[in-house]
Subunit: 439 residues, 4 copies
């Protein structure tokens, strides 16, 4: 019989901006309508299984600090997995998060054979099915873990050993089908070991081809089983490998184009991966929107002084307002949403710290949605931008864009008319001040 | 009458490894045959016009320190340009560098109108023609400066003002034709201002389209005038802009694919730009080779503790050996070469410091060529790599690569045969030790 | 007679939070009392002379873009300097900034001899004196530029040539006295070239001794002339040099201790220098407060994706709230203040962009002050911290701090009582949420 | 009875530069005399216990990949510890490394009480004593692990809980005594958790005082028990904490000065920590030498594209030559040495990969020693540096350094003599070329 784990936490309620209750929302009011949709529909929040329930608070220099009794090498691992599932759904329900996300190895122990692993996963998937029905929680996305087991240390699909490719394929097939069964809205591929540790032992070209083959198989299987969700690649520049092939959104876009997959695959952008790649979170979102491959978001943040994936909760309303603004401009999420791929700090050892982290993250995004909606409505930025490029709608601009003009004709034009354009202020400081009015 | 500027330097000679003459080569022996070609033909060294002759040793915090009498706002600017050309060719000849590279604004002052600017450039191009014939120096590449003049502060082809696009087009037309006239082997586009300072005033999608149109015009004009050289894009992630569109090789490759230009354009990779983008020099070269767009190289180095383009001379034989190894594996340069896009330090105020920098760079690359040739010959790395991926030549590997296998068949295979692959050592440390035997 | 330069800008007024007038303050209400002092007295804003009036909008890749008619190598340089001074005071007055800051070389052209340079500076200092009296503007700090002239390319006080040390000494003497004359509240030393470009030609120990001697001379002279202001060192890790000796606040503190100067010198912390050094702005302020050497602040921001000093205007209220909180906790500024060592972007070519930048910066800091005052008043953070360390007030804690305990006694205590402390949650996410309530 | 673990490896022999045997030294010839001392005495190599024998090849994204049968949560942990010790000494002996280093928790399992932990450690220390005598291996340094156990998640000596301080004290006492017993030459303090994760819950000043108290207790105890070795602090800027107090050598030096400990404590510099702190390895060594606190070295390298501690084996002879040159100039190691705080890559799953890593590292340092000795002998750098600062030996220089001169006298001197120093070339490129002749 399931007793509660988060005994001192009740269902989190919206209490409004002035609430000082740390276990309440100040901005996230799931039914509030913003630009014609509820906050819940806009934000499509998900909690993740891995950091919340599978990670004991360990880091590379120290053991786990958290109170997670089901994480132990001793005892019946399937019983632990079932307890974990109960606690997870208690958490999802109390937090009021409409979705969750998981890797196969998060939810069930690996067996002695792949068949056993599959069976373990399937058993927990059944439990999920019931819990999802009972609680109304949906699955934002599922994914297969192709990076933790030693067999994947040289990659999954990009492994020098084709048997590893085959093993990875079998694993993805199982999770893709489980995701379909659970009504998942997306399927994610994060290529944690699809990259290299040293170029000295690596054939880049060959691994690129292997990877493309893998992706095509996944797409084919998706269609075969009738899965309507989106296939998402999650860019990350490095860590754990020295260099990861899905470096950033532009790189993934190039890879998709190279293999004709740009209409089948979108990206799952993580804030912390953006900054590790030398980009702002805003940049990665804007690039994905501009390229038409914006899929979903892992809403977290890095630490700008630390060069690794810290996966902290988003708390910067100014930054997230611009992220939300880009997403709204592009029409909002379709199958995607904001998944909290976030870890509480290793020192956050109280059970309810999980709630504090998520409440802060959800309120940050909810406030950002409100701000962004106002930025869309008032349109101070889009008006400026439209006017800035306005001359491109004129004769000269159109002749360039429609291919009538060439170097010769343009050169003639400039020389004959002695064209000598003057710079016009880009107004960056003014625009930053305007944005600050909305934050 | 041209009197000498580098009065205390004679033509630099090869004196062999044991020479302690700082004004001699220890490794660069231009006629030495390596793998069937002379060092000169392999390395195709170029000196650049800008850092050597147009930069007075200023930085953002201080005025010029160098003895460059022709750099002054006072006096007859064309006479200064002519003196500069004389000194440049004295330098090229004494250094024994077979090529040089230039921007239009390096070689001649801008006029009051574009026509005047063109005329100034043309006059110096005539002088170059004679000097090249006299000295045997070739032109590795020419380029138009679309970033220094205030009119380009918001970009050249990606400017919000189509008149700036037109101006840039006219400028490129003139330099492309000049490059053709001088027998240049490549034409380079470095998009120093093709990027953004803030996303707040920028339309990424629109600027991408403008940029692609520009590139197509350049390609069309190249064919129209019969220029057989290669069009090269030079990736850089940022600086001067916050974000530059040609971020790195993978990004440029994606952009070329998006616009169907992958067979017409290659990359000019700069070591310092690679490291600013979060990559190793080796990585960028390896990616360009794997994608088939390796064109030419700006051989320099950054400072790993400084976050800007320091453009120092290459001096790391270990790193350059691997770079040279990739280039040799890919068949060596076609139209490209090693251009020294390098600056002596601001404290290097003696005239002959220009020679010390280049001699060090040329010897570094020459020694690297010797090392790399031996790595090709002995093949310790390629043998290892071939063996590492050997199973991909087997039945399973081939069924995956040729599209016979799918998730279903692979899953079945793994489950039925209980396949459970074990990791095999990647041997990174051993391979690094082997490379060190060749350095 | 001085006609206006900023013709379309009137004196900037406070209009309150809801104002959409871009040329008005929304938070900075100079006479508003916060914690017993006016905003003006708390924030002690200064505008800088160099970026605003001496920089034409050039960068390392391009020429100036700004409309600054007095910046030209042609014409009467002292007349230009006088025009610049008029425009500067027009700006200070219209902006309503109570202080300004300058380098000697900002305000007057260098002469053919040091005597001439001194005379030029003195002439402008006289003009300043009148303008300050007329407008009520004060001098936050003065400083000597020991980094732009080629003579300083290998450092000022740390130069290998003692004559450069002597020259630097003479220059500092003059500016220190000018600062005193003008009633300046601090004197700043930024060691832009006090560092190294390469260790190969550098004697670290010797240069450290030279630098300490210099600093002692400045302190002695300060006392001799009766200057009551504070001597400030401005930490920066690199740029223009590869490594700057005043790397960060901790390094400067160590240097002061090494030479017994910790009671005579404080730091002038710049936000962008903090982030270049791998620290947060908050960190550097907190360290300076903890060490008792917090002096003044160069309020700006860097770009976390760019590795150089971008000197942008502060616009992050969340970050600046914490900075302001530290400063208030430490008692507020004494002689220091917030100087805007900030540059508008090179594309911000309209004259009034200077105002937009400063208004945004001043409002950011003013809002941060309001937030921080509330954080002090409500004390959610300080209460938490006090409680967290509470046990240190107990017997065990006191025995450790007062030196009674030693390894032996503590070991005995632990072993005999089988002490086995459990971790207590650090509550980072909760605290971050609390801070967000105040932003 | 101890059977061999590294069954396919014999004692590693020196075979000379031309050897292609991957399990032989090409440069490290332990008895070869260089500048009057054997290589063994110069380099004082140590292998570390933790990465080699306690780490299974796990990383934050994946499980252990290595064949280390004694690492398992199951079975008799003391028996595992004994097996580990046997394998370790087999390794030390076969590698021919004269020293090793360890943490208490590396060598023995933690017990249910501190007494039990002590007993476990003591039992293994006894085994070490015998093995050291048998094999001639010495202990370079010991240290207590105050960062892995959850009790230390908020720091050891800087913990908000004084009981944790007491626990840490007891642990250090035990290891310091064990180190003394085993004839260890140094005792190291690495403050892995002495730092903060967020300033919001941290009292910097208080933690600094706690840390200083701790250090004083350790020094007192060292003297009390008659330990003659050196106390070493190991700087690191961050990881695992967001900010570590012992950020870099300059910061540690400042801390020592603040508490009057500069004659009692030196630094243990790690290459990878240097680069994480934004410094070159060379820089950190040079600073430590200049400040007189150079103690010992953790010889490894980071990956310049990865922002975390990769702890790779040193393989850059050029860089290590300069490091060795600084150490030789400063008189060589006293109690310190080169400890390989290095990890083979997670894919290096073969048992003998441990040997390949160390052989490469030892040869890199041995070749660097040979190069550096020649640099000392020929003195091209020191001659240049001495001459560069030569004028400081003259009258003006001496008057400055000895305190005779002041701002007044120097100003008078410059003005009266119209001194106007010209820059002299710093010759960086030339010096870099010279160094390359020695690499």
């Amino acid at each position: 019989m399931s007793e509660n784990f988060f005994t001192n936490v009740e269902k989190i309620q919206y209490e409004g901006e002035n609430s000082t209750n740390p276990l309440a929302f100040r901005y996230y009011d799931e039914n509030r309508i913003v630009m014609g949709k509820s906050m819940k529909e806009h934000l499509r929040f998900a909690a993740c299984y891995w950091h919340n329930f599978c990670w004991p608070g360990s880091d590379i220099f120290g053991a786990g600090t958290f109170d997670r009794p089901w994480i132990t090498p001793f005892g019946d691992q399937m019983a632990h997995a079932e307890q974990k599932a109960r606690v997870a759904f208690e958490f999802f329900e109390k937090l009021g998060v409409p979705y969750f996300c998981f890797h196969d190895t998060d939810i069930a122990p690996e067996g002695a054979t792949l068949q056993e692993s599959h069976d373990n996963v399937s058993r927990i998937v059944d439990i999920f099915g019931e819990a999802m029905q009972r609680t109304g929680t949906g699955l934002l996305w599922g994914t297969a873990n192709l990076f933790s087991n030693p067999r994947f240390c040289a990659g999954g699909s990009t492994n020098p050993d084709p048997e590893v490719f085959a093993y990875a394929a079998a694993q993805v097939k199982h999770v893709l089908e489980a995701t379909h069964t659970l009504g998942g809205e997306n399927y994610v591929l994060w290529g944690g070991r699809e990259g290299y540790d040293t170029l000295l032992n690596t054939d880049l070209k060959r691994e690129g081809e292997q990877y493309a083959r893998f992706l095509k198989m996944v797409i084919d299987h998706k269609h075969k089983i009738g899965f309507k969700g989106t296939i998402l690649i999650e860019p990350k520049p490095q860590e754990p490998t020295k260099h990861q092939y899905d470096y950033d959104t532009a790189t993934v876009h190039g890879f998709l184009l190279e293999h004709g997959l740009q209409d089948e695959v979108k990206v799952n952008i993580e804030a912390n991966h953006a900054t590790l790649a030398g980009h702002s979170f805003h940049h990665e979102i804007a690039v994905a929107c501009a390229k038409g491959i914006m899929g979903s978001v892992d809403a977290n943040r890095g630490d700008m002084q630390n060069g690794w994936d810290t996966d902290q909760f988003p708390n910067d309303v100014a930054e997230c307002t611009l992220v939300m603004y880009e997403i709204l401009k592009a029409g909002g999420f379709e199958t995607g949403g904001f998944n909290f791929d976030t870890k509480i700090r290793r020192q956050s050892t109280a059970r309810d710290d999980l709630f504090h982290g998520h409440i802060g993250g959800m309120d940050t995004m909810a406030k950002s949605l409100l701000n962004a909606a106002k930025l869309i409505e008032d349109a101070p930025l889009s008006d400026f931008v439209e006017q800035r490029y306005g001359h491109w709608n004129g004769e000269l601009g159109q002749s360039i864009l429609n291919g009538t003009a060439d170097l010769e004709s343009l050169s003639k034009l400039v020389l004959e008319n002695n064209i000598n354009p003057e710079p016009v202020s880009g107004r960056q400081e003014l625009l930053e001040n305007i944005v600050n009015r909305y934050v």
